[in-house]
């Protein structure tokens, strides 16, 4: 079952990359990042079946970081929406230089 889980992990990560590259809605891009984190978590769990329980500990850390990232990122999105009334990433090029 390990190779299948790794293949699914790769596929989910690629789908997340496609989403990040093709969507303009900042919230959907955030969700795609969460999908990529989930794909990595699946790989961690699959490897933890081979190499011991450390992978599961890392999954817990990844989830913590993902929760923190979601909280801060969504706060940024709300602040942006308050100023610009949009979450369209093409219209938010302030830092593009």
């Amino acid at each position: 079952m390990i190779p299948e889980a790794l293949a699914l992990s790769v596929a989910l990560f690629a789908i997340g990359v496609i989403g990040v590259l093709t969507r303009r809605n900042a919230l959907i891009v955030f969700m795609c990042v969460e999908l990529m984190l989930n794909a990595v978590n699946l790989a961690f769990v699959a490897f933890s079946k081979l190499y011991g329980v450390g992978g599961q500990v890392f999954v817990i850390f990844v989830m913590t970081v993902a929760a923190a990232e979601a909280a801060v990122g969504l706060a940024i999105v709300i602040a942006l929406f308050r100023h610009r009334q949009t979450v369209d990433l093409d219209l938010l090029g302030l830092l593009r230089g």
């Binding site: 079952m1 299948e4 699914l8 989910l12 990359v17 303009r24 989930n38 500990v57 602040a79």
Partner: protein, 177 residues
């Protein structure tokens, strides 16, 4: 590597894997943010089932509680707070040229990862791990590693969460600048 699995196990493993894959594709193709978020919740539930089947029961439970429960609820809350649930109100999908480029990037990434994850490149465990006891994925072994080997990282995580809370509050405050 691991011996033959009963048919019941294999069937459900593939079932949840395919559900996760199909839900992910549905997630990335939905226009409405609410529908996309609900498909993503479906992906996370399927992944939780896979975690449980790979003897990671605690991680599976946390996946449901934290990811599908807390994080996605926050996402849906923001979508509805900003009233972004109407798909046709913004041009979300980029034009076909960008989409083709994204598909090419994804294919290249998939090939790269598939090559890197080839079984004969994986490090060999010096002494083959003893066949995991029935309770490997239960809480006790995870907690043992978490609070002994990774204690410093665990404590630093609390600082990270504190910083995230402060950051969220500061960013979400209605400033009078």
């Amino acid at each position: 590597m691991l011996p033959d699995y009963p048919l019941f196990y294999s069937f459900h493993f593939y079932l949840f894997g395919l559900v996760a894959l199909a839900s992910a594709i549905a997630f990335v193709t939905r226009k409405s943010p609410v529908a996309a978020a609900l498909w993503l919740v479906n992906v996370m539930f399927s992944l939780a089932a896979l975690y449980v089947m790979m003897d990671a029961h605690f991680v599976g439970a946390i996946q449901v509680l934290v990811y599908a429960g807390a994080i996605m609820v926050v996402f849906l809350f923001v979508v509805m707070l900003l009233n972004l649930g109407h798909a046709d109100s913004m041009r979300d999908q980029r034009d076909p040229r960008v989409r083709a480029t994204a598909a090419a990037v994804a294919v290249a990434l998939t090939i790269e990862l598939a090559v890197l994850a080839r079984p004969d490149w994986l490090p060999v465990v010096p002494t083959p791990l003893a066949p995991p006891p029935a309770s490997t994925g239960a809480i006790a072994p995870v907690a043992d590693a978490l609070f002994n080997e990774y204690l410093l990282a665990f404590e630093l995580t609390s600082v990270l969460i504190l910083v995230a809370i402060i950051g969220a509050v500061v960013l979400g405050r209605r400033t009078s600048t």
